[in-house]
Amino acid sequence: MTMPNAIGLERTDYKGSPSTLCPGCGHDSISNQIISMSYDMGLPMHRVIKLSGIGCSSKTPAYFLGRSHAFNAVHGRMPSVATGATTANNELIALAVSGDGDTGSIGFGQFKHLIRRNVPMVYIIENNGVYGLTKGQFSATSDEGQKLKYYGLNELPALDLCLEAVIGGATFVARSFSGDAKQVQTLLKAAVSHRGTAVVDIISPCVTFNNSPESNKSYPYGKEHEIPLHEYDFIPVGYVQPREEITADYSEGQTIEVEMHDGSVIRLKKLDKGHDPRNRQQAINVLEEAGRDQLFLTGLLYYEEPRPVLGDTLHLVETPLVNLPEEKLRPSKDALEKLMQGFM
């Protein structure tokens, strides 16, 4: 049992159906962190929409927030659905889950254009570097030089989705590791508070098709090579088991404060590199360096506020479009008659 949150709900209220993914899948622990984050933040579930594309990751919205509307879209085109839904109703809190195939390949164009429009939403990529649902083909984020059982050697370079997001003009880009529950949760909280597209790329190992120690998206590799950009209490966890949620415990040491649009503040401890997430060039540099070294950096890589979101650039009324009364939707009879005069 947990304590009721700010809106009087318990953690169990935020659960979904039981997962049907492979036991031990990194995606399940991310679902778990979404539940914890939503509970902690007191998210009103009726305002949350869960969106996804196609793939293992995209099945997960069924496994959290059962009281929220969900839209499991077609492959690679969740961003357009999210764009439409959030434009129709600007009070919706969009939580989207995609995978590396859904985002990095078939949906790459939509991903880039979503970012460009700064559609207000959280875009989680559960990145396992492999096509799981079709049984283990390479994805665009698979490591160069990696070997897979049926497909042999991957001779193509990997796409770095965080780098692509930063270059594409994203206003919030973070990376984490599904095993690092605390960091995932902290970053998700910041992402939900962000006004704009918040991209959270979570390396989430595939226990079935991509978990060899040579893959940089495996548990053994992840545990050894993860370099947090900002130091959190790194708690090694079992990775595969749903766990009790862990309260974020911000270090009081050397910190920078990043203020979210809603006034909330997240504090991040700086590492020696002194990464400033407000510095776009630095974000690009550290990602390129890490890519060269085949390492992944975790933490908030880039952050920019305020920048107009799509509803602003469309010059829309503040009232959600779906709530407008008929008199605002249909011009008057006089207006039509006047118009007709102009065509005579």
């Binding site: 579930m45 839209f71 764009t83 129709a88 010059h315 009324v317 011009p331």
Partner: protein
């Protein structure tokens, strides 16, 4: 097939030319991008202002500048507005097509061409008027960068003088065309006036063609189908439009942008409609489906290639039952095909769009007034049926200017169908003890939906393109799948009666029936008059939507002979009729043109005459 067309030709009686008044067509041949569209519009507006029923057809290339373009203007005292295959007058302003343009003239025709070409007269049976175009433009005080574009005003002035269009009417039409802007209108008018005066002083009228004032356009409007669709959408309470540019649909959204001010909130100065230019049609349709799911009245406009890209999502929206509106302004395909030519070739494709067991609702406007009406009605129908509603217009209807009665205001309020608010959901639970997204509570196949944001703990449901049961949960069970398709089929039957019903002209004494749809309508009506003049009386049913109405199905069995007329190569409505009518229907004949041009009465007349001949002989 060679069509026997009888244009109006010059006839001499006792050496006198018998005048031909308000019943001929004029063709202007120019180069694309030369600014001739403005001149042609001025001519059309002038005739319209003279009270003469008029129609214009733009035959343009897929090109920004340089390739040939032809514009035909037809005046008809009898009110016929269909395209005519032949024109009596050619204004030949494009040297590369002039030879062919002259050959195509009927005997007694007229050719107006630039004097400076020094072309000579290749035909003795037509009238030539040679006009000093360059000289006239040079003499007018026009800035040099405008000279090429304004040269087209020379033929406006010459035509006005030769065929009797008063100058004050031209001046007014110019002001209309330039939205009341005095300066450009008057700069153009200067050239028109100069050419008019030159013509009066130098040309000797040797042809029989005249325009005369009539009183047949009073209270009418001139508008394109795409503008009408845009206005209809705005009056239909559209809240989200997402699109990707594609000819010939682009001007639908241009229209929405032009009249967006109708939906500007006076208090805040901000818009109540979102217009998003998407990265492609895949995204455009995804956006409107996301918006429709969230409760918006959402629309996209595209053409065949865009429809192809929307196929997967169209199946999703059909199966997940999400309202949205998709305008297909058809052009000639497959592939890029002929993007600036008209066609009705998408009918079968959109009716069954997506992979497997989909039957989409399709509205088929035949006039600009119906483009407006279906513009708003499509949103009501999409919400009431909870499905994508396609509206199939075409390049001819969409991009050409049409005469119409002013549009009627939608008097019935906005309809939202079975969408449960928080209070309605509470009531629903109180009465039924449950609510599930896909349970057919009313037996009409249409179920109840909730919108995201509904503040009720049991309002949420899971939307998916994968198999699902009545409770909207994932299911791979065969019976769930089949039961769902059976209900969707029931919904399709409900749709049959909700959508616009056919327009029928039926007299049981007449044994020959014509079925058609969309922009063929003016040609069909004119052809019926031609057939009646030959002694063949016909009935006519115009299909206005799919699924087919029962009335259309009955119409087929009520006749000894039925001709299904359409502007595609495959006879697609004919195929749908055959599919829907199980009994023998060999008496139903497909007349499918699909020649990339708007339908003509002459073609229909010739075809039916040819096919009726053996039947008459048998008797």
């Amino acid at each position: 097939m060679v069509v026997d067309v009888k244009p109006n030709v010059q006839t001499r009686q006792n050496g006198q030319v018998k005048p031909i008044v308000n019943d001929f067509a004029l063709m202007v041949a120019t180069k694309n991008g030369s600014g001739s569209q403005t001149s042609n519009e001025v001519l059309i507006r002038s005739l319209f202002r003279m009270g003469i029923p008029v129609s214009g057809k733009n035959l343009f290339p897929s090109n920004i500048k340089g390739l040939p373009t032809w514009y035909t203007i037809r005046a008809s005292k009898d009110g016929y507005i269909a395209r005519r295959a032949t024109t009596e007058i050619a204004v030949a302003m494009n040297e590369s097509t002039a030879a062919e343009d002259i050959v195509n003239l009927p005997p007694g025709g007229v050719c107006i061409l630039p004097q400076e070409w020094r072309w000579g007269h290749s035909r003795e049976d037509i009238v030539y008027y040679e006009v000093p175009v360059k000289e006239t433009v040079a003499a007018a005080s026009v800035p040099s960068d405008f000279r090429d574009r304004i040269a087209n005003m020379v033929y406006v002035g010459v035509c006005a003088q030769l065929f009797d269009i008063p100058l004050d009417i031209i001046r007014q039409a110019l002001l209309d065309t330039f939205s009341g802007k005095e300066k450009p209108a008057m700069m153009n008018f200067g050239v028109v006036e100069r050419a008019y005066n030159w013509s009066a002083e130098n040309l000797v009228k040797a042809d029989p063609f005249h325009f005369e004032r009539l009183n047949l356009t009073g209270g009418k409007i001139l508008i394109t189908g795409n503008e009408a669709a845009a206005l209809g959408s705005l009056f239909g309470g559209m809240t989200v439009a997402a699109w990707y540019p594609i000819t010939p649909s682009t001007s639908v959204i241009d229209g929405v942008l032009d009249y967006r001010h109708l939906r500007r909130d006076p208090e805040t100065g901000r818009d109540t409609v979102a217009i998003i230019q998407a990265e492609d049609e895949l995204a455009a349709v995804g956006m409107i489906i996301g918006a429709g799911w969230a409760g918006a009245r959402a629309m996209t406009a595209t053409s065949g290639p865009g429809i192809s890209l929307m196929a997967e999502f169209a199946g999703y929206a059909y199966f997940a039952e999400i309202p949205c509106v998709i305008w297909d302004i058809t052009r000639t395909g497959p592939s890029t095909g002929l993007p600036t030519r008209t066609s009705q070739g998408d009918l079968l494709f959109i009716h069954f769009l997506s992979h497997g067991d989909t039957r989409q609702v399709v509205l088929l406007p035949a006039s600009v007034a119906e483009c407006f009406e279906f513009g708003w009605r499509a949103f009501d129908l999409a919400d009431e049926i909870q499905t994508p509603v396609f509206v199939m217009s075409d390049l001819d209807l969409g991009m050409n200017i049409w005469m119409s009665e002013p549009f009627s205001y939608p008097e019935e309020g906005i309809k939202r169908g079975k969408t449960l608010s928080k209070e309605e959901l509470e009531k629903f639970y109180a009465e039924k003890g449950e609510w599930y997204r896909y349970v057919d509570y009313d037996g009409d196949g249409v179920t109840y939906r909730t919108l995201p944001g509904t503040d009720h703990p049991r309002a949420a449901y899971f939307t998916r393109g994968t198999g699902h049961n009545e409770k909207a949960t994932y299911s791979e069970r065969s019976e769930d799948w089949v039961n769902n398709l059976i209900r969707l089929r029931k919904k399709f039957e409900t749709a049959r009666n909700l959508i616009p019903q056919p327009v029928v002209d039926y007299d049981p004494a007449k044994r020959v029936g014509i079925i058609s749809y969309g922009s063929n309508d003016p040609a069909v009506e004119e052809a019926r008059d031609l057939l009646a003049a030959d002694g063949l009386q016909t009935n006519y049913l115009r299909v206005r939507a799919l699924p087919l109405a029962q009335e259309a199905i009955d119409f087929v069995s009520q006749h000894d002979r039925v001709y299904v007329i359409e502007n595609n190569f495959d006879g697609q409505l004919h195929q749908i009729l055959r599919m829907e009518i199980p009994q023998d229907n060999t008496h139903m004949v497909s007349l499918a043109l699909g020649d990339t041009l708007p339908m003509t009465a002459q073609w229909i007349h010739a075809q039916i005459t040819r096919l009726q001949q053996p039947l008459q002989e048998k008797r």
